[in-house]
Amino acid sequence: SMTSSSNDSQQLGQLLQEPGSQQQQQQQSDYSDITEQFKSAACHLQLGELLQHQSFSLYDAMTAIEMMEPKMDSGMRLDREILHPQRSAGGPLMKLSDLTDAELLGVMDESLACLASWLDGESALQSVFINLYLQCIDKIECQPLRTFCHGLLCLLQRAKDVITLANTTDEEDFNPLLYGFEAAAAQAADDERITSALKEADDDIGRQVKAGQLAAGHRLVQHRLRLLRSLLLLLRQFHRMLQAMGGGGSADLPDSALSVTSAAAIDTAELVSPAAAEAAAEVRRQLESASSACASVAASLEVGQPAAGRDDPRLKAYGVQGFEPLANLRQLPPSFPRCVRVFERPAAVAYLARCLDCLRQFLTDVTPAACPSYQQLYTRLALVCGLSSDAPCFARSCLRLLYCCPAQQQQLHNYGINLGLGSARLFGRHSPVEFLLASVKQFCPIAAGADLNASVRQLQGQSRQLADSLCLQLGRALLHQVCPLFSRNRSRKREKLAACLDALWPLYESCYCLDRALFPNDECRSLFLPYLTFYLFRLSRLYLLSGFSLQLYARHELPSVYFMLGDGYMYFLLVGIVQADLAIQQQLQLTHNPYTKLSRQHHRYHQQVQTLYQHHLSMLRASNYLATATFYALAALHSDGKMQQLASPHQAGESSSFKHRYQPLLQRPFLPRSITCYTNLQTMWDSRTTFNGELDDSELDEGQQRKPASTPADVYAEATREFEKARDALVKVVNTASSSAGSNSKSAPSLATVCIEDWDGEAMIKVAKTNMVVTKLLAAGHRAGPQHPAELDFSVCPHYPVIKLLAPTAASSTAAAAAAPSSNGK
């Protein structure tokens, strides 16, 4: 209230009154105190009335920082002493020696929590560097603390180098700026000295505890020191492994030439050199010790002094020696001061443990031990990359460096300078061309024949040049654009998808030409084209689905989305793959000779491998059906008047917004006729929503021509059929996946490992089944007309809605409501 605050203000005002010096009085006379005048004048304003300057708007008012509000005002002076790295050092709140073990552990645990927060994306100034000991390390007399701080800075620098070199993080994932502490961090970069100092401190404590000089609680300090040391050693070993991978092998081969290794080498090549494999084993050993150190730290977190002041800024002290969240505020740029959320200690240690777990998984999955043949690398890599979108960014960076190790030694040495991984090779030695050929071979082994590499090498002249450039471009695109696609930032992912599509579409024609050059006598046989089309299919689908999670689609755009996902666009891509599939099946039949054991073995192997790719194909086809079915259902709902917001595609400006929305997908180079996708959409929509007029169906692509429907009920029936097809296809897919999960076929990766992104088979089946029932009801004439509105429910599956029939509006007659069957369309 006013009165009490004015009392406070009087007292405080007296405290703040400076003793009069001439100069200050001079300056003070420039300002006149208008407090009382102002406040009484302001009382004349009415409640809710604002007095504002001409150039000031209410919009500006919204963006102002509210002072004295802890969430927005990070500089809020609290009722406690703000620690300063130089001035407070040695004082009771920032002791430099004689720290009790609770205090020491408090500092160390809080530092680990801050480190985890920094790895998670907070700025270093507001996380790691709130530990003021880091700014005056040389003054610390307590040896464990001093070595710990050195180790922390070193770890900071090393981790930052790994993450910036890998370059897979987006803005909010990680903040590499150190705001003036770069020098301090760089100085601490001598990790050999630091790891030995850590070991020494560790041993010293052990000795002293045994001798009784130190309390037994100091053993826990040893755990922290060991954790830091093992993390540093891990990073050093990882660096050595990268050097071993990148240094040897075919680093001097120019990229433009196809690899001259023989076919046998491509199939069973060692993925990495023996030196690198040994280094990888060493990394794994180090990982184990780091994980166990993490676990022992996690078990003893309650001993350290807790940071009570973190949650309650009004407390007298932050709670931990030497920590001051407000110390570095001057160095922050004048942006909106964010409230930094430092991890709780158990969560922080869990985060570090998770980083290590992810790293371990990547090392096991993407190394020779897991992939007996080079061909399987493609599936493994795709799987791992897809799963890595949830991984902490540090682990993701390590993964990228792992499979995409820079070939030149200089890149590894220039820590901190990111020279880009554009020329990097798979595991440091394999050119992207080899990778591409191997995965193409795995994709269509029958079409590829026995020795793809040889057939490519046999090409002459222009075809050979075409092959060289195409393979290089495609391989590079796959390795550097498709694999690092997955990260936490979904809008960036959508941009990256668009960039991938932009990179891949121009290669379409070249793929066709190369196929014809490779198989001049066999018109139906194609290899590179279906491979490329397959990727285009997957990426386009991901692009369209990403719009859902980013909530980009307005209600009236939904029909066009399902049009693109379903028959309108994907159909064309599907046709290409299906044709290749048929050719392969034919080949399989022709070459199968059941009388020889070798042939039977080959046949079984090929069947299994084919099943892998078939499985992928059936997943895509099933989602295709579901999308088409949804499109029909939406058209029927619109024409029935149940959902008015689904505007027809004919509105003004709709055509250009369609082009804009689907721009990366509309680049296909040769269309069967000179018809745009949008016209297709128009005709498909019209044929299902206008019922009395003449319809010109002749312009549609083949396969989309249908008999024009005569009533909404017909369209509902069409939708029902499609939902049924979708349901059957989905059930088959899910069953094959689960049944093969039990089988242990060593020669081919199990189907369960084939993942297609953004796929939830169970949810999609539920949607298909429910919608099938609903559209069947509607087709039979129940609940017809606009008085029974319908709604789309995205809670079951975020990409495909469930159609919900709502309660009839008040306009409907009670008789109609009573007559309709009481079954609620779910």
């Binding site: 209230s1 006013m2 605050s5 406070d8 203000s9 405080l12 005002g13 703040l16 400076e18 200050q24 300056q27 003070q28 420039d30 300002y31 006149s32 105190d33 208008i34 407090t35 005048q37 102002f38 406040k39 009484s40 004048a41 302001a42 009382c43 004349h44 304003l45 009415q46 409640l47 809710g48 009335e49 604002l50 007095l51 504002q52 300057h53 001409q54 150039s55 000031f56 209410l58 500006d60 008012a61 963006t63 102002a64 920082i65 509210e66 002072m67 004295m68 500089g75 809020m76 002076r77 609290l78 009722d79 505020l329 001057r330 004048p334």
Partner: protein, 136 residues
């Protein structure tokens, strides 16, 4: 004075103090005390205000907006840790941009009183809300 609910803020346009006639509210709005008060406040708009908060910090910025509870919005606001710091070294500050100070957190308000009046042509604020540096 029987105003509408405080949920919607009604901006008083200072330029047009013409009020609808015959309205009872208009009568209250016309009172001479209110007119002088509003004139005083309007004169302060666009000028440098130095505000001291209850935790001792000093904020210096261009006065942009206020309301009945003396909540103040300052544009181009600079934050000093104390009055002593502000006087000792004017550069030892943090730039906050637009800041809102709740009226009950204010201890003291000081208005710069050098002779240069802000004339109508330049209203003291640039288009992005930061103040033009006053010629000293």
């Amino acid at each position: 004075a029987g105003c509408a609910d405080g949920a919607d803020a009604v901006a008083v346009s200072i330029d047009s103090l013409s009020l609808s006639e015959g309205h009872q509210q208009a009568q209250a709005e016309c009172s001479p005390e209110r007119m002088t008060a509003l004139k005083f406040l309007t004169d302060c708009l666009g000028r440098l205000l130095r505000c001291t908060m209850i935790d001792g910090r000093v904020l210096v910025g261009t006065f942009a907006c206020t309301d009945r509870d003396s909540n103040i919005i300052l544009a181009g606001c600079l934050e000093y840790q104390s009055l002593a710091d502000c006087l000792a070294d004017p550069r030892d500050c943090r730039s906050l941009g637009l800041a809102m100070i709740p009226g009950n957190k204010l201890v003291k308000m000081e208005l710069e009183s050098f002779g240069q009046q802000q004339n109508d042509v330049s209203d003291g604020l640039r288009s992005d809300g930061s103040p033009e540096t006053p010629a000293s």
